[in-house]
C-alpha cells in the first residue's frame, strides 16, 4: 500500500516536472563578455526571455580567453557543453579543424531568416571558414582611443570640433603626450601586462606601417614588427604609460582622471556612458580612432559570433537546435541595441539604418569601419592562440622593459615558425 502511494505521488511529481519541462526549452548559454558590453548583453538576454516565455536563456559569463575556450573543449568532450556560445571569428582557423564547432546548414539558418546577404562579405567569409557556416556573426569590434575631453582641452590638444589633435603622425602624437606628461604622471592608461591588449594595438601599428605579420611560412618578415613594437616600448620608457598594469587598473586610471587617454576596445564604451549617466565620471569623455603613427590608417578588429559546440557524446537535440536558431535570429534582428555596447552590429541592415547612424558616441568613431584589419587567418593566430601566448610570454615583457624589441620578436618567430 505504501508503495502504491509513493508511486502515485511520484507519478504526479514527474508529470508536473515533464509538463513544465516541455513547456519551456532552456537554452544554456556561455559567453565571455565581462567588459562594459556584458551589461548590455545581459539586458538583451532579459529582453529575449521576456519576449519568449517558451524559450529561456540560462546565461553564464566565464573568464575571457584561454579559460573559456578550454572549458568549451573539455565540456564538449564529456557531453556537458552549452547549447550556444559566443566565439571569436579570429579563432575559427584554429577551432574548425578540431571539430569543436557544429556546422550550421543554410536551411537551418534560413529558417530564422539568416542569409549571407545580411552580412558584410569579409565577415561572412570568415564565419564560413572550412566550407560551412560555423557561426553567426553578431558584431565587429575594434580598438579605439578614449580621451578626457576636459584635460585635452586644457592642454590645447583639441580642435574647434572637440577632436583631439594628436592623432596625425607619430611625432604629433609624441609631442601631444609630452605636453600631457607635464600635467600628469601617466598620460596613457593602458593594460601593459595584457598580451591580448598589446596584440591589438601593436597589430594596428604594424598595419599602419604597412608591415606584414606573416609571409608564406615566415613570421614578421623585414623589420616593421620590431619598429612597431619599439613605439610601444618607447611609450613606457618615456613614462607616458606605466609598465605592468592590469586591465582593470588601466581602466581605473582613466576613469579616476589619473590618465587622459585610454587605449582599449569599443566594448568599454557602455562603461563610460553608464558612469557618465550616473554622474560618476568626473569629466566629459570622447571616443575616436587610435592615433595614426604610420603612412596608412589601420585599426585591429575582430568579430563575435554565436556558435554551437559540437559533441560526439551528446549532440544537440532537434528541439534545442530549433530554440538556439531562434535565439540567433532574434539576436541578429535586434542587434541595434548591441550597438550601445560600443560594437558595430554585423547585420548590415541595422548598420545602414538611421538609428544606428545617429547613435552616440558610436558615430564619432564610425570611420574605423573603413580601416579595419583582422587577425591573420591562420591556426596560429586569433584569441587564445599561440600568437596570443607569444605576446604574453615575450612581447609583453618587451613592452615592460625586460627584453629588447629584436629579442622578443625573434623569440616569437622561433615559437610560431615551428608551428607553421
Amino acid at each position: 500500500m505504501k508503495n502504491k502511494i509513493i508511486s502515485f505521488f511520484a507519478g504526479i511529481v514527474i508529470s508536473i516536472y515533464s509538463f513544465g519541462a516541455s513547456a519551456v526549452t532552456e537554452v544554456v548559454w556561455w559567453d565571455f563578455l565581462g567588459g562594459g558590453d556584458g551589461v548590455r548583453m545581459k539586458q538583451m538576454i532579459d529582453n529575449f526571455n521576456e519576449a519568449h516565455p517558451d524559450i529561456q536563456i540560462n546565461a553564464t559569463t566565464l573568464e575571457w580567453g584561454v579559460p573559456f575556450y578550454t572549458k568549451v573543449q573539455t565540456s564538449a568532450a564529456v557531453g556537458e557543453q552549452p547549447d550556444i556560445m559566443t566565439y571569436h571569428l579570429s579563432r575559427f582557423p584554429l577551432a574548425v579543424p578540431t571539430g569543436v564547432l557544429r556546422p550550421i546548414s543554410a536551411e537551418e539558418l534560413a529558417s530564422v531568416g539568416i542569409t549571407a546577404d545580411r552580412f558584410f562579405p569579409a565577415n561572412w567569409e570568415a564565419a564560413n571558414f572550412g566550407g560551412a557556416t560555423h557561426g553567426v556573426p553578431l558584431d565587429i569590434h575594434a580598438n579605439v582611443m578614449y580621451f578626457n575631453a576636459e584635460v585635452l582641452g586644457e592642454a590645447g590638444l583639441l580642435d574647434e570640433n572637440g577632436h583631439p589633435t594628436l592623432l596625425d603622425g607619430v611625432d604629433n602624437f609624441m609631442n601631444g603626450l609630452a605636453k600631457l606628461d607635464e600635467m600628469m604622471e601617466f598620460p596613457i592608461g593602458f593594460a601593459s601586462d595584457n598580451g591580448g591588449m598589446i596584440w591589438r594595438w601593436w597589430y594596428s601599428i604594424l598595419n599602419m606601417m604597412e608591415g606584414d605579420f606573416v609571409d608564406g611560412s615566415s613570421i614578421c618578415p623585414g623589420d616593421k614588427c620590431e619598429k612597431s613594437l619599439q613605439i610601444l616600448i618607447d611609450l613606457v620608457e618615456k613614462g607616458y604609460m606605466p609598465s605592468n598594469v592590469d586591465y582593470q587598473s588601466a581602466k581605473g586610471m582613466f576613469i579616476s582622471g589619473e590618465s587622459a587617454i585610454h587605449i582599449n576596445g569599443v566594448w568599454e564604451v557602455p562603461t563610460m556612458v553608464d558612469l557618465m549617466r550616473n554622474n560618476e565620471l568626473g569629466f566629459k569623455f570622447g571616443v575616436v580612432d587610435m592615433p595614426q603613427v604610420g603612412p596608412k590608417m589601420a585599426t585591429w578588429s575582430d568579430s563575435h559570433a554565436f556558435a554551437i559546440p559540437h559533441s560526439d557524446k551528446n549532440p544537440i537535440s532537434d528541439e534545442k537546435l530549433e530554440a538556439v536558431l531562434k535565439v540567433m535570429g532574434w539576436m541578429s534582428d535586434n542587434s541595434l541595441f548591441w550597438g550601445t555596447a560600443g560594437h558595430i552590429p554585423a547585420n548590415t541592415e541595422v548598420v545602414d539604418s538611421v538609428f544606428y547612424k545617429n547613435m552616440q558616441p558610436n558615430s564619432t568613431y564610425a570611420n574605423i569601419g573603413e580601416n579595419m584589419v583582422v587577425d591573420p587567418f591562420l591556426p596560429i593566430a586569433g584569441v587564445a592562440s599561440p600568437t596570443y601566448d607569444a605576446f604574453s610570454n615575450y612581447i609583453a615583457p618587451a613592452v615592460n622593459g625586460e627584453l629588447s624589441a629584436e629579442e622578443a620578436i625573434q623569440m616569437m618567430r622561433d615559437d610560431l615558425e615551428a608551428l607553421m
Binding site: K42, L62, E63, G252
Partner: protein, 276 residues
C-alpha cells in the same frame, strides 16, 4: 635580575602582537577594501580606513551573482565528503585495529602507502572515470574522488587500539556482532576524534579548489572557491566586489574555526601523527 626579565617579557609580548597584526594585515586590508565604494578604491589618495563605509560591494555580490547557488554546492559537497569520509574510514580503522582477518596486513600496508601517493597526479584518469559515469557537473563527481582518507583510517586505528580490550571481550561474550561493537562501544568512546576529524575534513573539502575546478564545467555547479575566480560579471570596475566575494567565501570556514578552535587544532595534530 627579576626586573630585567619583566621588561623582556613585555617587549616580547609587544613584539609578538606586532608580528601577529602585520600577519593579519592582508585580511584586514581585503575586508576594508570590500567596505569601500569602488570609486574610493581606485582613488590615488587612498586611506587605511574607508572614508565612506559602504556595503554596496556586498549587495552587488548577493544580488547580481549566483553566490547562493555556489554556497549550496559547497555545503552539499563538503557535507557529503565529510559524512562519507567518516563512514568509510571508521569501520576500516576498526577492522584493522580489532579484527584479525585475512588480508589485514596487506590492507594496512596499502593504506600507509597511499598517504604518499599524489592523487592530484591522477587527475586525467579520474576526470575520464567520472565522465564515463556521467558524473561531471554533479555533486557526486566532486565528492567521490575526495572520500578516500588514509590518514583518517590510521588515526581511527590508533585510537581504537587504545580502547581497553576488556570492553570488546565483554561485548563478544554478550553475543554482539563486530558491527554492534563498533557502533555501541568504540564509536561513542571516540566522539571527540570523530568530531575533530569531521571538522578538519569539512574545512579541507570546503577549501578544495583543484577537484571542483576540474570536475565542473558549468557555472551553476561551481563551489564557492572555484566560482570566485572563474566567473566574471560585467560592470565597469569591481575591485571592491572581488574582495567582498573573497570575504564571503572565507566566512564559513573562518566561523567554523573560531567556534571549534580546540577541536580543529587537535585534529591537525592528530592527522599529522602527533599525540596531543
Amino acid at each position: 635580575m627579576t626586573k630585567k626579565i619583566t621588561i623582556s617579557w613585555t617587549v616580547l609580548t609587544i613584539l609578538s602582537l606586532i608580528v601577529a597584526l602585520i600577519f593579519m594585515f592582508p585580511l584586514y586590508w581585503a575586508a576594508v577594501t570590500s567596505l569601500k565604494q569602488e570609486t574610493e578604491v581606485i582613488d590615488p589618495n587612498w586611506s587605511i580606513f574607508p572614508r565612506i563605509l559602504s556595503l554596496a560591494a556586498y549587495l552587488d555580490v548577493l544580488t547580481k551573482s549566483a553566490i547562493g547557488t555556489w554556497y549550496i554546492n559547497s555545503i552539499a559537497t563538503s557535507v557529503g565528503i565529510t559524512l562519507l569520509v567518516i563512514l568509510i574510514s571508521m569501520p576500516c580503522g576498526y577492522a584493522l585495529s580489532q579484527i584479525d582477518f585475512v588480508g589485514r596486513k596487506i590492507i594496512l600496508l596499502a593504506v600507509v602507502v597511499s598517504i604518499m601517493v599524489p592523487g592530484t597526479a591522477l587527475v586525467i584518469a579520474l576526470f575520464v572515470l567520472i565522465s564515463d559515469f556521467n558524473m561531471i557537473n554533479t555533486w557526486s563527481g566532486v565528492i567521490l574522488p575526495q572520500v578516500l582518507s588514509p590518514v583518517c583510517v590510521i588515526v581511527y586505528k590508533q585510537f581504537f587500539d587504545q580502547v581497553p580490550k576488556e570492553l570488546r571481550e565483554a561485548s563478544i561474550i554478550d553475543g554482539a556482532t563486530e558491527f554492534q561493537i563498533l557502533i555501541k562501544v568504540y564509536m561513542p568512546l571516540n566522539w571527540g576524534i570523530t568530531t575533530a576529524l569531521a571538522l578538519v575534513t569539512f574545512i579541507g573539502a570546503w577549501n578544495n579548489f583543484f577537484w571542483p575546478f576540474i570536475m565542473t564545467t558549468k557555472a551553476e555547479m561551481f563551489t564557492v572557491p572555484v566560482a570566485i575566480t572563474s566567473v566574471s560579471d560585467a560592470y565597469g570596475i569591481f575591485l571592491a566586489r572581488d574582495m567582498a566575494v573573497a570575504i564571503l567565501a572565507a566566512l564559513p570556514v573562518t566561523a567554523f574555526f573560531l567556534i571549534f578552535q580546540k577541536r580543529v587544532t587537535q585534529a591537525i595534530m592528530l592527522t599529522s601523527g602527533i599525540k596531543g
